[in-house]
Symmetry: D2
Subunit: 349 residues, 4 copies
Amino acid sequence: MDSSEKLNVALLGLGRAGRFHIQSIQSIPGINLRYVVDVDEPLARRLAKELECDYSTDADGPLGQADVDAVIVASPTHEHYAQIQAALEAGKPVFTEKPLGSSLEEIDTCFGLAKRSGLPLFVGFNRRFDPSFSSLARGVKEGEVGVLQMLRVTSRDSPMPTMDYISTSHGIFHDCIVHDFDMLRFITGVDPVEVYSVGSSFVEGIGALGDLDNVLVALRYDNGMIASIDVNRFASYGYDQRIEAFGSKGMLQAENRSPVSTVLSSGDGLLRPTIEHSFPTRYREAYRQELVAFSDCLREGAPMPVTHEDVRISFILSELGEQSHREAKPLRVTDHPALKHSPMEDPEK
Amino acid sequence: MDSSEKLNVALLGLGRAGRFHIQSIQSIPGINLRYVVDVDEPLARRLAKELECDYSTDADGPLGQADVDAVIVASPTHEHYAQIQAALEAGKPVFTEKPLGSSLEEIDTCFGLAKRSGLPLFVGFNRRFDPSFSSLARGVKEGEVGVLQMLRVTSRDSPMPTMDYISTSHGIFHDCIVHDFDMLRFITGVDPVEVYSVGSSFVEGIGALGDLDNVLVALRYDNGMIASIDVNRFASYGYDQRIEAFGSKGMLQAENRSPVSTVLSSGDGLLRPTIEHSFPTRYREAYRQELVAFSDCLREGAPMPVTHEDVRISFILSELGEQSHREAKPLRVTDHPALKHSPMEDPEK
Amino acid sequence: MDSSEKLNVALLGLGRAGRFHIQSIQSIPGINLRYVVDVDEPLARRLAKELECDYSTDADGPLGQADVDAVIVASPTHEHYAQIQAALEAGKPVFTEKPLGSSLEEIDTCFGLAKRSGLPLFVGFNRRFDPSFSSLARGVKEGEVGVLQMLRVTSRDSPMPTMDYISTSHGIFHDCIVHDFDMLRFITGVDPVEVYSVGSSFVEGIGALGDLDNVLVALRYDNGMIASIDVNRFASYGYDQRIEAFGSKGMLQAENRSPVSTVLSSGDGLLRPTIEHSFPTRYREAYRQELVAFSDCLREGAPMPVTHEDVRISFILSELGEQSHREAKPLRVTDHPALKHSPMEDPEK
Amino acid sequence: MDSSEKLNVALLGLGRAGRFHIQSIQSIPGINLRYVVDVDEPLARRLAKELECDYSTDADGPLGQADVDAVIVASPTHEHYAQIQAALEAGKPVFTEKPLGSSLEEIDTCFGLAKRSGLPLFVGFNRRFDPSFSSLARGVKEGEVGVLQMLRVTSRDSPMPTMDYISTSHGIFHDCIVHDFDMLRFITGVDPVEVYSVGSSFVEGIGALGDLDNVLVALRYDNGMIASIDVNRFASYGYDQRIEAFGSKGMLQAENRSPVSTVLSSGDGLLRPTIEHSFPTRYREAYRQELVAFSDCLREGAPMPVTHEDVRISFILSELGEQSHREAKPLRVTDHPALKHSPMEDPEK
């Protein structure tokens, strides 16, 4: 498309993630919200009026519109796979929240379809666009810490999700830790050879679901590097997202962010306000930047920042992490069925 | 106006401040940019097309438009006074960057006109809307530091403004320190009884203009409280804006903000990235919040957060601060001609 | 002994640790250095003159002195076992740097001897006396973080030890990580049920010794708590010693310390000085406090802060950690031979 | 004296400051406490026994002792002048807490006597030896901030001194701010040309004494530099001692210190422990370093780090600061009687 024109997008899903994308779209001059879709008709109608765009209760609604340049999939998780396929088949580039589907096969199908049709399929691993995390990744690549030896990701959610959400989330590995696995790949550019997980559950209800809320993952790389991921479903003090990269020449850390920069000194000590409460404010800039990046891919042919391989590997590591916990032993990454015969080979080739 | 409808605004001036307001407007669902004005016709035309609104090179252009609900004055300083009057006379509420005019009389004239016509006149003392400064002010009011004894404002600009800008800026007191005087009033709710300034100039060219680039102001309050303001035209490490409130029970500080939260530890020490580079990013949220507040005044009849008295007093203190430096002696605030016979009386009554 | 009198001590070993104890002794009014021992006769003579005390090149020298109230063992590691036994047999209470010996049997022998003779045997797990770590442990015990779920210890040495030192250090688990295992026990009061280690070597020479310089240990507790220890032989930015305790109600962290509290803000960012360079300054107060505690045990009959069980368990975990790395699998703590038949039973009973 | 021998000192005064010097002396191998003096005979006797030295209730006691190499004056303020003179006349080098006397004449007399007798007279401006402040001063001298433009000293005491202490303290300028004036000189190496003070009193009883507890001093330098000092008798959150140096190339700050490095994150925010409670812990290292420096002057002939001129100027500025507050106007430094006819001339010549 002509890079001087606005990108007209259709947004599928007006829930939490959808409303968040609306906010990003409004702040990006080059993107125009052209169409919204939600099964809740009154909601879709009201927002369409407010946002001065068309609406439908049917995800196919915008696919026939010639002036819809791309589709953003922010619908409930189980609808992603069908909607991605339908959009690609209708010739529309797709931006989608993860997951693409519930299995590696579905992921491969989506990317295969995108490849055959020559259309961009952009997966929203938003943390790659966070200014602090991307600055850390750049610093590591530029050698600021020398040879990377230990990489630690801390990722604790806030507020506590509802049990409804958790029960349909496919488990903490596929719902949360997949992002942390992607961070490791984003920063290091290489994949681990072994994964070991220890997990437990403290929150009533989560254990009963067979799910975990407290997990430590240890990863071994064949160059001697070691990584750890520690995750919790709920941090009482806010959305705790930190990364620490230690190497021969130094350490690079990305710390939490606070919306307010005050300090109250009293006889009780020095009190700073809580960190960002949740992902929408913590990653506001990241969400905005990833839509800008998506727009750049479409309008300027920029390369896709998240590849098929990236999505595959983070899915595979999530499966292995879960299995390692279940079997209480470390697992070799190349023993995963999808990699056994062609370890780490690029599935796109 | 109906609070469910969008507020249609005309923006006068598409320079630095104007473009900044565009960004804020785009992020506020309830405000719609209906009209832009700039003497640079190609610029006005281009932005109008991009933003899908009307344009003119004449500030009177939008005043006759029935569907323009309010005017935002972001034009060059010397045009403010005439444009504010014209807008109010045309029955349009006004949001304006300071200054309203070049004298106390002009300020009084603008507010008198607004009062007679029953129209809101909103002055953009944006720092009042900064999350950290407003949190500090709230904490002080709620007694977090006990009896306030010492209030310190540090305000250092970045990057260095051009000599062109400085030569038409009315001097550092009216251009910069007026904001800091307003912060004192915002936090304390009372006015000083005495002002003393020490100033100097380090930057070539500024001294030749008879202006200052390095200033300390000491203020005495009749309840024993003391305040200081220290200001510089240029901080090499970024836009340095801090406030410290010390009282009988503790200290409340608002610290600088950084866009990136990394720390690099090496043999050289612990390095954090520079703080926000300049006012547009430092006060991005403040700019946004003040437009939301303006909208609330218009749509919901909320009281004006910045009063005529606020604007007068900060202007008077700027005059006294400048005079104190010139005469190298402390000046009593009630000796100012505008207050001599009716000290601190509300000019609106 | 009479608590109003000074405690006269003999110091075995005038190397790095010995000289450090001298500094602590000098700052504690209630302890008097009465005797120093080192095989280096000129060194022992010189220091004895300077410190106004007796000296010998023979560790048995002070044991016959009636006015020596206690012995501090700071000699080379391989001499500890014999010296501890000789001192206890001579009726002298013993303060000793770890390790007590090179096997669990030797540890048990020392404590058995101490028990039979009714003499205090104090093991210098100095980190328990660090003001920040002990404050963190107290906070966790008092419930400041609610139910403890994840405990992380980071421990990176500085400066790089010599190869001579490393080659006789019994490996990174027994030399370094034993302290971190003790921290876990100190903070939680319970022991893990499973240990898993990943280790590697980046420093030339260390791998050739069969030793590691980069290790991550993951520990599982039967109440669902998880712990991690990450250790490196060398941090280029100083002695990096941190602990983070995460629980249902919050997080408690003990951060690094800096000798100087300056910040330099420039166009490069905000630079703070490096953290403490090495253990003698980082733990100066801890070394002092542990000697005070030793003195309190002797003079006031205070209970021993480090028990036989504490020393045993940290040794067992070090063995298991090493074995887990070697066998690349998690190990159950109760499978250790010393615990197999009587898991976690108190060996003193 | 022979630099290999210990320095034997007599300590006059066993009050707060005296006991503090004892702690420093005990931690310095090269200094030996030989003699203590206090009018409280039981106290002197008890400490002498404990410290294994001689004692007297008469300040002249140690002056005739051949093996007393130097005298440390830490007695009540009003005794300093006579004791300094007596010690110098007895041929003993003197380390003294400020003030030397109650007037400029007494200061000049003491230094005159020291000069004539060729004996060191060392005045304990301990902050010059604080690692953070001396690092800041070094950084400024080495050009880390470029041309110095604004220097700010914050100095708030903790805990609140007793009214007894305050009533005999010679007022906040001579008791407290004199140290801050010395810091300005220490950092800049030059003197201000004008002083202006604003002061008030919030603490019951202090105002009745005609004294102040809340003061801001503004200082003008003839190179355009500006300085401010803000002082309070009591900070509820601990001993608040900070310096900020702003210049053309950056800013250098010395921040407060905390004895414990923990952070508690909870729903209330991020809580760090209070800063150092009071001067003995805040300046522990500074007190130690200044005794080492005194010892170096005596044993190695090192130059005196605090000169007669330093002591004079800080006294003169304290007088001017007090007078400026009283007369509510800025005062020219060269108008001070002691400088009027020979501004800033070195009184030693």
